[in-house]
């Protein structure tokens, strides 16, 4: 399966539904740190350039806060696209992620609950 079908299959997103309104980028809290902006994710997928998307800084800057998914008027769900791009990378690198019992040591008290949740969401698979 080529990369484009794989990313579509994982994310369940149909990139053609995007009408380029930019609301996802407007709502993205880490827009400025990203090289490929949220409203561009769909274009990279449509142009068969999943490689660039997977290797972009955006893949790791995305906080999985899902604001873009919440507000997209066309149900495109760009957050899931970058999430799928991350999965492709992780699957390439194989299993060298954190194991469950290593996590408590890394936590500190004032880490916001939401950050923890979106981290789990990001690395769960």
């Amino acid at each position: 399966m080529n990369k484009v079908d794989e990313i579509k299959q994982i994310s369940g997103v149909n990139p053609l539904k995007c009408m380029k309104c930019g609301k996802c980028s407007a709502s993205c809290p880490s827009f400025n740190e990203m090289d490929i902006k949220p409203h561009q994710f769909v274009t990279y997928v449509v142009n068969d350039d999943v490689e660039a998307l997977a290797n972009s800084k955006s893949a790791w800057k995305c906080l999985s806060c899902f604001a873009c998914i919440e507000r997209c008027p066309r149900n495109v769900q760009p957050g899931k696209l970058i999430d799928a791009a991350r999965q492709i990378l992780i699957r390439q690198r194989g299993q060298e992620g954190l194991s469950a019992d290593e996590i408590p040591a890394l936590l500190d008290e004032d880490m916001p609950q939401q950050l923890l949740m979106s981290a789990f969401r990001k690395y769960r698979r």
Binding site: M19, G22, K23, S25, A26, S27, F31, P73
Partner: protein, 662 residues
């Protein structure tokens, strides 16, 4: 056995591309009774119809089957063609091998096979067609217009000018509708009231127009040419003949709490009120829920101060029943509710307003007497942000899937007027695309940008965050610069999606007019019959049929009026001959059919019959073909098949079923 002619249309390539028309002709000739079969590129053209005419004469055809597009397109054409050539129009059947076959199947062999089956079904049916004669029914020379906005007024004026009497039913205390709430209108910036009020006065003074305001349609029965409508005239508690419209009662009325719907709830009004100064009729109504006298029996100040003695607390709702030949729906629109759009903080901050509310704020008769000021602290806004497509073009369930068509133009208008009146105020418009499809529309938009310096930014707004200091932080994006924008604004205006008046669905049910999931009334044909409803005698005028601006509304209002005039000009209307008929020898007289007839078209009489030698008096069902609309409900409740429907008889449908399943 009837002599049948089968004509297969290529429809250019629409049919011929995926249906082997020659094969259909070949198979047609094998069918019983088919004495003539041919194909032709355009059967509906003059040349095509002349081929039919020729075949009728040469082969003495007694039945025609045309395999072509949907009967809803050209059944009438081919029936008229047959009639011109001496063949009863109801001996023509259409096999729909375009919309139901060639357009939706790719494989030639499969599509041809299906076309042949559909042809066979039509031939089987036409063998059993009876020559029917269209009956006639009288036309009440009077029209009803539901809705008193610009659409309703324009339609009524045009019909009345043609000499027919028109009743306008408007649910608000005054006609004028949405347009009366606007300040200026694009693209010429004339003041909305200045161009609307003359029309309202003309309508009020026209001898052929009766206006029922503060009234609603309660019940509709009958059919084209013979509608019976019950109109509920709600109690005004003011005697319309005596009232001089002096307005003292409104000033003196102590109950000031109710929100002023005309000003979109931005300020209050008294319990006894007229919506706006130029109201027609200029007679106030008493809001029963807010009136102290009606609720507690105390007060009665308005009665004291009224020199004309027009106040009448005892007034009751009144139901009047009228006969009409045609009904025009002109129920207009409203903006959608924004409570599902939390990201724009419409409910949190008073400075986030809809465009319609901005119209009232900029209007001299509005809540702020025309001064552009923030509703929170009354200060003049220095930074205004317009957000386009709020709730429009949304395929999620929060908003509407369609483009509301008028927002780009009225936002350009607002921006231009603000920049013109308050040059030191900055205006930013966040847009997805600016849609200006109309005469002088794009030029108007470019003037806003080039002459008045309105700042257009391509990109939607993600969030509007009210700040502690009372300002609004707008999280936008500039897709062309690929930059996120955080703009501090004093006022945010949302170009909100529009939807048809919510109670149009109730009216559509009463008129049995079809309506789509967005509550827009469905037109008979999107391109060829945009101002008529599929329900004969019901016409559409204005936004109730789809989003449109004032120029289009007035154009459509005129078109609807012409259709009504065309209908009322006829003394007699051809009635649908496909009505039910009872076979007196089989009828049990059990009145099951009368119980299901929606039009009360079935009555009973005791008749002397000779049933194969048995002479006796029997109770027989009789169908009044003027009332019967041919739905067929009675034919199924009749166990013995005595009640049958002409044009769609039991044996015809059984023949079609047999031909399909052969």
């Amino acid at each position: 056995m009837r002599r049948i002619g089968v004509f297969v249309c290529h429809c250019g390539s629409n049919i011929a591309a995926t249906v082997d028309v020659k094969k259909v002709v070949e198979m047609a000739l094998l069918e019983q009774g088919v004495v003539h079969a041919e194909d032709y590129p355009y059967m509906c053209s003059e040349a095509g119809q002349s081929r039919i005419a020729e075949a009728i004469r040469e082969k003495q055809l007694e039945g025609i089957v045309v395999c072509s597009c949907s009967p809803r397109m050209h059944e009438a054409t081919f029936r008229k063609c047959a009639e011109r050539n001496g063949l009863n129009p109801y001996l023509v059947e259409i096999a729909n091998i375009r919309e139901h076959c060639s357009w939706i199947h790719k494989d030639m062999q499969e599509a041809t096979e299906k076309a042949v089956i559909l042809m066979r079904a039509a031939v089987a049916k036409v063998h059993l067609n009876a020559p029917l004669l269209a009956g006639e029914s009288a036309v009440t020379k009077r029209a009803l217009v539901i809705g008193g906005g610009i659409a309703g007024i324009q339609t009524a004026l045009d019909i009345a000018d043609a000499g027919y009497h028109v009743d306008i039913v408007e649910k608000e205390p005054s006609i004028g509708g949405r347009m009366s709430q606007l300040d200026k209108t694009f693209p010429t910036l004339d003041c909305s009231a200045c161009i609307l009020t003359p029309k309202m006065v003309e309508a009020a003074s026209h001898e052929n127009i009766t206006i029922h305001t503060w009234s609603e349609v309660e019940k509709v029965s009958g059919f084209v040419g013979n509608f019976t409508v019950d109109i509920r005239k709600k109690a005004r508690y003011v005697n319309m003949d005596k009232c001089t419209g002096c307005g003292i009662c409104q000033e003196k009325c102590p109950s000031k709490k109710p929100l002023n719907e005309f000003n979109r709830g931005l300020n209050n009004r008294s319990a006894i009120y007229t919506p706006f100064a130029q109201a027609i009729p200029n007679v106030p109504v008493i809001d029963a829920s807010a009136c102290i006298k009606l609720n507690t029996g105390k007060c009665g100040i308005c009665e004291k101060f009224c020199q004309a003695g027009a106040i009448d607390y005892k007034q009751q709702d009144e139901i009047i029943t009228e006969q009409y030949g045609a009904i025009v729906v002109a129920t207009g629109f409203d903006t959608i509710k924004l409570d599902k759009y939390g990201e724009y903080a419409y409910n949190e901050s008073k400075d986030v307003i809809t465009s319609l509310e901005l119209e009232r704020i900029m209007n001299a008769a509005g809540p702020t007497k025309g001064h552009l000021e923030r509703l929170s602290d009354g200060k003049a806004p220095k930074e205004i942000v317009f957000i386009q497509c709020v709730g429009s073009r949304c395929s999620d369930d929060r908003g509407k899937p369609y483009c509301s068509k008028i927002c780009c133009m009225y936002t350009a208008k607002h921006a231009m007027l603000i920049r013109d009146k308050y040059p030191d105020t900055n205006v930013t418009v966040f847009y997805i695309d600016v849609r200006t499809p109309g005469k002088n529309f794009d030029e108007f938009y470019r003037r806003a940008v080039e002459d008045y310096g309105v700042n257009y930014v391509k990109g939607q707004v993600g969030k509007v965050a009210p700040q502690p200091d009372g300002s609004l932080l707008v999280h936008g994006v500039d897709l062309l610069e690929n930059k996120q924008i955080l703009k501090k604004a004093d006022m945010v205006v949302l170009a909100t999606a529009i939807e048809p008046n919510p109670d149009v669905r109730k009216i559509a049910t009463m008129l049995t007019a079809s309506i789509d999931t967005n509550n827009f009334l469905t037109e008979a044909h999107p391109k060829l019959r945009p101002v008529e409803s599929p329900t004969a005698g019901v016409f559409l005028s204005g936004v109730c049929q789809g989003p449109k601006d004032i120029p289009e509304t007035v154009a459509q209002a005129g078109a609807a009026a012409v259709k009504v005039i065309g209908l009322l000009a006829k003394d007699k209307l051809k009635t649908n001959p496909c009505t039910a008929k009872a076979d007196e020898l089989r009828c049990n007289g059990c009145s099951q059919c009368a119980n299901v007839c929606p039009y009360g078209a079935i009555s009973y009489e005791t008749k002397q019959v000779n049933d194969h030698g048995i002479r006796e008096e029997r109770r027989i069902a009789v169908v009044n073909s003027a009332l019967c609309q041919g739905c067929g409900a009675c034919t199924v409740t009749c166990p013995s098949g005595a009640m049958d429907l002409q044009g769609f008889s039991n044996r015809q449908i059984i023949a079609e079923v047999d031909a399909i399943c052969r």
